[in-house]
Each structure stands twice: as C-alpha cells, then as structure tokens.
Symmetry: C2
Subunit: 298 residues, 2 copies
C-alpha cells in the first residue's frame, strides 16, 4: 500500500471518529458548563487517534460494520484522553503542554481537570453500556467487548502500568520490568482497540490470537519509538518538551539498550507484527500502520 | 418495626456487602501493590454503606434474589468511595480526615490517591460489565441497570453536582440551585442504588415511579441532615471536622432556611418518603431508613 492510499484511508477513519465524537459530545449551557468545556478541550484536541483508527481498520479487515464498532472505538479514545489529563496533573507528571497546547489543568485548574478526567472515564462506560443496553441483538458480544476494554483500562492494565511507571522513577529497572510496565501502561489499551472489534464481530479464536500478537508487537513498537522520540525528536513537532525521560532519570528502551539496539529492536518488532497479520486478506492498512508507528516523527 | 429488628436487619445487609467486597477485592503481591493497598484502605474503611444496604432492602421488598443485586450494590459503593477520595484531594476540598481516619492522599500521597479513585471507578464498571457478560439470562435488564448507575455517576449526575458545588463556594445561591446541586451530587447515586435493583428485577413502572419519589425524598433528607450535622454535630462522632460549611461560606439548607425551618423541612421530607413507600408489602425497613437518615448523629 503506497503512502497516499494509506493516508487517505487513515483520514477516512479519522473523520468517522471525529464526526462521531462531535455528534455525541456537545457542550451544554448550564451552571456546570465548565466541566463540559474542560472535557471538550481535551477530547477534541485532535491527536493521532491511533486507537480508534486501529479499531475501524480491524473491523474493515474482518468485513464488519464500522458503525457497530465506532462507539467502542470512541469510548477507548475517551479513556485514553482521561488518562492523559490525570497523567499531566502536577501531582503526577506535572506537564504544562500536550499536543502543543497547555494541559487541561493549566487552562481549567486542577480540580476541574481531575473531574474532567473522571467525567471522560465515566462517559466511556456510559457509551459502552448504552450500546450493550440498546437492543438484544448481539448484546452478549457487546458486553464481552466492553468488559475487555474495562479490564484493559483498570488496575491490571493501564492504571497498574501508570503506578509501575511512577514506582520506577529515579531507579534503574530491568528489561522485563520495563516491558511489563509498558504492556500495562500503553499496551493494554492499544490491544483492547484491536481486540474489541474482533470480539464484537464474533471473530474466530485463530483470528483473535493473531490479532493479540499483532497488538502486542505494535504496542511495544509504539513505546520504543516514544522513547526514541524523547531523545531524538523535535519538541515542536512532537508537541511536548522532549528530554523529559532523561530529566526524570527514567529507565527507557534507549537507556537500557542504547540507541542503536533500541532501533534494531523496533525494526524487528515491526517485522514480527507484519508477519502475523499478513496472512489475512486486506491486511495492508494494519501492516502499514506498524511501519508508520516506527517511522512517525511525533 | 422496632429499633432492634431494624438494626439487626441493617447488620445482615451490611454483612452481605462487606463479605462480597472482601471476597471480590484482594490486595495482590506485585510491584504495583500500592494501588491495591490504597483502594483497599478507602473501600474497606467501613462507613454506613447506606447505598448498597438500600439496594438489598429494595431487592428484598420486591422479593428478589439478593445475590443478583449484590454486585450492582457493591459497584455503587465503589463509585461512592472513588468520589470521596477525589473530593478530599488538596485541589478539591482538601480534607485531612474521613471516617475518623487520615484521608487517602494523606496516607498514600496525591498521585496514588488520584489513581486509586480512578481504579475504583474503573473497577465498578468492570464489576457491572462482568455481570452483564456473565450469561444471556437477564442480560438486557442487567445492562439497563448498569447504564442507570453509569448515568447517575457521570456529568449529568454526581460529577456535575460536584462541579456545581465548587462553583457555589463563596457565593450565595438560591434554594432551587441548592436542590439541583444536591440532587446531582449525592441524590443521583443514592437514587441509582434504589432504582437499579428494581430495574434488575423487572419491576413494574408503577413500582419504579414510587421508588423514584422515595429516592428523591430520602436523598433530600440525607443532605438536609448533613447540613444540620455540620452545624450541630459532634466532630468526633461525625468522624470529620464540623463547621466546614461555615468556614467555606457555603450556602446550605441551614444558611438558606435557618435551623428551625431546615428541621421542619427534614421532617416533612421524611413523611413524604414514608407516604409513597408504605403501600408496598414489607416496606418497614425502607420507612425506618427514612427516619434513620433524619435521626442519625453521624
């Protein structure tokens, strides 16, 4: 798949996601309006939307209906955005910028930022439960997909990973611990964005297993690339200050392996992702996405 | 129903709740153990458990199976506890004590307290979705009940109410705005604890409507009593410093109506709750609970 076809497909998925979010999340005139504005500020700030885009791509590869998958894909995006708001708080990473804009608490204050994060997490589950409760048709598959997302976001997934990350600051951790941390902190939610559509569409267990490996590989690739960008990236393109890993004395793939080995591992990981997904019909977009993750400059 | 029968019934419900929580939430040995400990610290700190107790009482009044309702009741208790952890944060109410013990962030630090709150909210939805996904039997009713809880906890319910509360500090607000704030901040989740079992058990719309009014009334009574306790209560019995409303110049039922009128309103509200619920068979516990809410000293 050449670049122009890939990016036009990416744009197509992205537009579906943006349209769904716009239609389903509006700012209301009410005394508590500021919470809507604060959630809107973060949720509508753009970004790559890689998680929901992956969901739609998997759905299309499996010949599924994109409209069925969209609310699940967007719920995952809400969960991702809540986690960014809370991670950026002064008591957590204390970041002032995100995607080239002031972070949520810089604009709305800490209290509203905490509540906006809570609000987005809660809204994700309202979205999922609305889908499950909508009709009897496929409600069991919908419940299973929603549960899979909930578990990925929880303490055995993303939240646990964030704690591992905090516990690892200012100390040297080993490679296995680093992988475990990332598998939970970022990998779990990415994986859920790939597996939820497969569950929703009733895919075979062979298909699910292949997608699990693909998801693990691109999750790992995503994180190795993040670490590389924190060292080599241009902060204006990345949209946030680079060098923060070094400043916070974090163990990363770059500090543990060195830049050269980190890049080799990235390359090998992308190849493995490709290998497991290429037997599928119409896997070109997912293959290209693995490469895109490794080659992106932000 | 005399006091001793009432309290032994309350203890029976309470034990079911405590047992369920103990069985379903354990602290694991793992590098991220601190998040389990922090969630455990707040969730297992006791408290009245009025919400899940109400759920079980409604279930029993409707001759329903308590085991069906328990996970929903406990999910609501998780949501209640997450909201307490986040409300107590320095950037929110900045409270040092809760139920006579140091607040979560005082013990575990702010970052872990934010994540423990997130973890409990997420775990509530994992619990609900596990129930919905468990089997095909009644899964539609389960999904509807879970959605009702999610909406009560979200920005149109509890989170919106918390924002209204913050927006009302240091200014005088009217009676209607005060009621709207409490209906959302505490009323919505209490209401969900009463309605979720009715939905789960497939109650008639007449039953649901009566329970809605009962829930509104005891939610209001609960808040009026809270405001009275903040003025008249013994801080050692209440388990947190009293007089904070005055310190924070909050509009409350006491400041808006005066103590005498606030007490009259409390009495009238409890009578209305009784009136709507007494036509049901076996409503004694719920009637007594309305009175208990008005007479409690903590």
């Amino acid at each position: 798949m050449d670049n122009s076809i890939y990016f036009s497909k990416y744009e197509k998925y992205l537009k579906r996601v943006e349209d769904w979010l716009k239609q389903n999340f509006k700012v209301y005139e009410c005394p508590e309006k500021v919470i809507y504005e604060s959630m809107h500020y973060s949720l509508m700030a753009g970004g790559k939307r890689i998680r929901p885009v992956l969901s739609l791509a998997v759905a299309e590869m499996l010949s599924g209906d994109l409209d069925t998958v969209l609310p699940f894909a967007c719920a995952i995006e809400m969960i991702h955005n809540y986690s960014l708001i809370h991670d950026d708080l002064p008591c957590m990473d204390d970041d002032d910028f995100r995607r080239g804009k002031p972070t949520n608490h810089k604009v709305f204050g800490e209290a509203i930022a905490v509540l906006a994060g809570d609000g987005l997490l809660n809204m994700a589950f309202e979205t999922l439960l609305k889908e499950v409760a909508r009709s009897h048709e496929n409600s069991h598959l919908k419940a299973k997909a929603a549960l899979l997302i909930a578990e990925a976001a929880g303490i055995k997934g993303m939240i646990g990973g964030q704690v591992l990350d905090m516990e690892s600051e200012n100390k040297t951790i080993g490679y296995d611990r680093l992988c475990d941390m990332h598998r939970k902190k970022t990998g779990a939610l990415i994986k859920s964005s790939i597996l939820a559509p497969a569950v929703l569409l009733g895919a075979s267990s062979d298909t699910e297993n292949a997608l699990k490996i693909y998801a693990d590989k691109i999750g790992l690739a995503f994180q190795i690339k993040d670490d590389i960008l924190d060292y080599e990236g241009n902060s204006e393109i990345v949209g946030k200050p680079t060098g923060s890993d070094e400043k916070n004395r974090k163990s990363t793939f770059v500090t543990l392996l060195g830049m050269e080995e980190a890049k080799k591992l990235l390359e090998a990981t992308v190849r493995q992702a490709k290998k497991v997904i290429e037997p599928f019909n119409n896997a070109e977009f997912l293959i290209k996405t693995a490469y895109y993750i490794a080659e992106r400059d932000k």
